[in-house]
Symmetry: C2
């Protein structure tokens, strides 16, 4: 199966503060900010030559991002791999014995379908799979 | 300044085991394995459509990877951004008040020059800057 690194995500307490910090201190430019209701999160994207940096802040104390920050603080949170067909990718991951957070895809940012593989399956790395909407 | 995401690095205990796991369970193909003496590390690279996944294992108990695994276990460790000129990038980072792990570049994998920015400067994200060798 072919994977393309779509983005690397960072768990952030205060999104505005972090966007400002990555813009002013590192010189990146924020492309867009989006609320993702299914994740109870607000996200900001920066282009890094094709792949993106995604800053993710919680919009609700019960979100997985809020729990992650409580446990481990801010920092690298997950990587997202783009696949052609997320249903096939999930089926293959299941056959390979990978523990799935989402057995079926859920709506992600920008009209995409996403699913997470649990970090205990791959050396502590939380992996998001994404299938982008077809351009019509 | 223009940045390109070069790779995302994962701290790993046993490199052979992890390479096998990412190949068999996720279906990735390992491109190359390299020892990086300056980092006291052995690394494996997987192509993810331009950007790479780098698995990093320690070759010495005093390495920063060994200390990171001792503290936080295996998992996402740093992101690496490619820059045209690492000396200019470091000078700008210094002016912006970012705390540098390396004040001057050190030799990295594949004949590159690299330097790290401390995670306390950017919301817990350890950032490596890399300048690749010019192709002649």
């Amino acid at each position: 199966m072919a994977f393309k690194l779509d983005h690397v995500a960072v768990a952030i307490r205060d999104l505005d503060l972090a966007v400002d910090s990555f813009e002013k201190k590192l010189g990146l430019t924020c492309e867009r900010v989006e609320v993702v209701p299914t994740e109870k999160a607000k996200v900001a994207f920066f282009d890094l030559g094709g792949a993106h940096l995604e800053l993710v802040a919680s919009t609700d104390a019960s979100s997985s991002i809020a729990r992650s920050i409580e446990k481990r603080g801010e920092g690298l949170h997950h990587i997202c791999l783009e696949v052609e067909n997320i249903d096939s990718a999930l089926a293959l991951a299941k056959v390979a014995g990978l523990p799935l957070v989402n057995e079926t895809p859920v709506p992600g940012a920008g009209g995409s379908r996403v699913a997470f593989i649990h970090p205990k399956g791959l050396h502590g790395v939380l992996i998001e799979l994404v299938e982008k909407p077809r351009k019509t």
